[in-house]
Amino acid sequence: MTAPSTSASQSEEICLSLQDLSISYGNKEAVRGVYMDIPKGKVTAFIGPSGCGKSTVLRALNRMNDLIDGCAIRGRVVFQGQDLYQRDIDPVEVRRRIGMVFQKPNPFPKSIYDNIAFGARINGYRGDMDELVERSLRKAALWDETKDKLRDSGYALSGGQQQRLCIARTIAIEPEVILMDEPCSALDPISTLKIEEMMHELKKNYTIVIVTHNMQQAVRVSDYTGFFNVSNREDRDSKVGCLVEFSETESIFNSPQQLATQDYVSGRFG
């Protein structure tokens, strides 16, 4: 039922294609030379030690790095045949198609209802807002807990609920891709489990890219895994992140091709 691990994503439809992507902050290079084809309708996990640039790469996928001073990008990120970093691309439009969920739950200081309606309203949603809010909350497995208090502040929810609210908010703008930057790192195991279950549901409709520090989580939720590592460059003594191996999750964890991957997933470092 699974394709051979060497042909990782060739049989799949490609959603995002990273081509020789290098990202630097100021004159310090953070990540260099990433090639990766992220398949459509799957969950792709980025794992690796701290400082290897996996979050940086994730943020490059919907131009979130534009908001960081001194961040420069070389290479191409191709989404539906368009390079996201071409001059005529509108980053706001990119973020409407490629939504993002952050490490720390960041609901707006508004009601639960308005948190979800906000994105839809600014995107010119004309349909039934009540229905959209309910549908989004149901998809984020938060409807039952919040249906009686939609007018309460988003801050009144627990951390795990807030994170699911943020996911619901992202779903409400009906993006094609959802990027998640360590969405469970601030949450307890039960909330984490709920979010992981939700991701299995979500991948039927969306392409999901998740950065995680938790390798078990990568095994549980993802179809493909990219292992990033920090490498010392020979010509200088600065450290720079790079993609070591990208393949089906199963083969990354069971039969990795690279020694560094083997060491990392078996817990020998990192």
Partner: protein
């Protein structure tokens, strides 16, 4: 060996120093609050007893006559403060938004922040002279010299630094994640600022605005050169207008009992208005912490 006692020993030198320095700190605190308490009590005694409906609604009497009130000065202070707010709030909030959201701490933003701090320290009389030179003496406003609008402009110059600074700092307190969240659901910069960041910072901004108004409303020096004074009801925004602070300045040194009483009454009303504004500001600040 018996364990050393844990009970408090008065004779220990660290305990003596502790008590001594605590007392000194308490003393200085009391001295710092003393002027405020004395001013409030004195104004309350001298002016509070004079307050009645007639005083709040009537015009001041001609010199030598009794009775009358400070109605025109109360209205005048409100009008001039309103004009000042209408000028200073858009400029100040706009400037603060530019500094916090758009400028990215470039050299220009640093210069504006520095300039704002300097402007906040400029004596109020200089603001008055500045507007006098710019508007009043040149008759730039439709050929009029002293006017309510000129007074409002002078007060606006005083208010702007406060409003810019509190807006800038209020916006900086908004967590970066909130902006990312808005951007992450496809909000443009304008929408992020108007719909997410500004509402989140509304309480500190409102507090700063109210404090700015309270400061400006009590100023005398800028108004002497600009709004001048008038013993009559306001005759349009392009003519001189009364204000409580200038009324106090003019009447407190007159040799007539009635005018001196009015000055005290005006002091009382002014202090109460400023106190109320400060309480409002505190309440607004309190809202933000909920």
């Amino acid at each position: 060996m018996t364990p050393r006692t844990l009970s408090y020993r008065h004779g220990l030198s660290r305990n003596i120093w502790n008590r001594l320095l605590s007392s000194v700190a308490a003393l200085f605190t009391a001295l710092a609050v003393l002027p405020l308490v004395l001013v409030l009590i004195y104004v309350l005694i001298k002016g509070g007893s004079l307050i009645n409906m007639q005083l709040l609604t009537e015009l001041p009497p001609p010199p030598g006559l009794d009775g009358g009130g400070i109605g025109n000065a109360i209205v005048g202070t409100l009008v001039v403060s309103l004009i000042a707010s209408l000028i200073a709030i858009p400029i100040g909030v706009g400037g603060g938004i530019y500094l916090a959201e758009y400028s990215r701490s470039g050299p220009f933003a640093q210069f504006v922040r520095f300039g704002t701090n300097v402007l906040a320290g400029v004596p109020s009389i200089i603001c008055g002279v500045f507007i006098y030179g710019l508007i009043v003496s040149t008759r730039a406003l439709m050929g009029q010299s002293y006017s309510a609008i000129a007074g409002g402009m002078a007060l606006a110059v005083l208010m702007i630094p406060t409003v810019i600074k509190t807006t800038d700092e209020g916006l900086k307190l908004v967590p970066q994640e909130l902006r990312w969240g808005a951007m992450g659901v496809g909000a443009s910069r304008v929408i992020t600022i108007t719909r997410v960041t500004l509402p989140a910072a509304l309480a500190p901004i409102a507090t700063g605005v109210v404090l700015g108004i309270a400061r400006a409303a009590g100023e005398t020096a800028p108004l002497i050169f600009t709004a001048l004074f008038s013993p009559f009801w306001s005759d349009g925004l392009l003519n001189p207008i009364a204000s409580m602070s200038v009324l106090i300045y003019n009447y407190a040194i007159m040799p007539y009992e009635a005018q001196i009483s009015l000055a005290w009454a005006a002091s009382f009303v002014l202090v109460m208005m400023i106190l109320a504004a400060n309480l409002l500001a505190r309440w607004l600040g309190h809202l933000s912490r909920q």
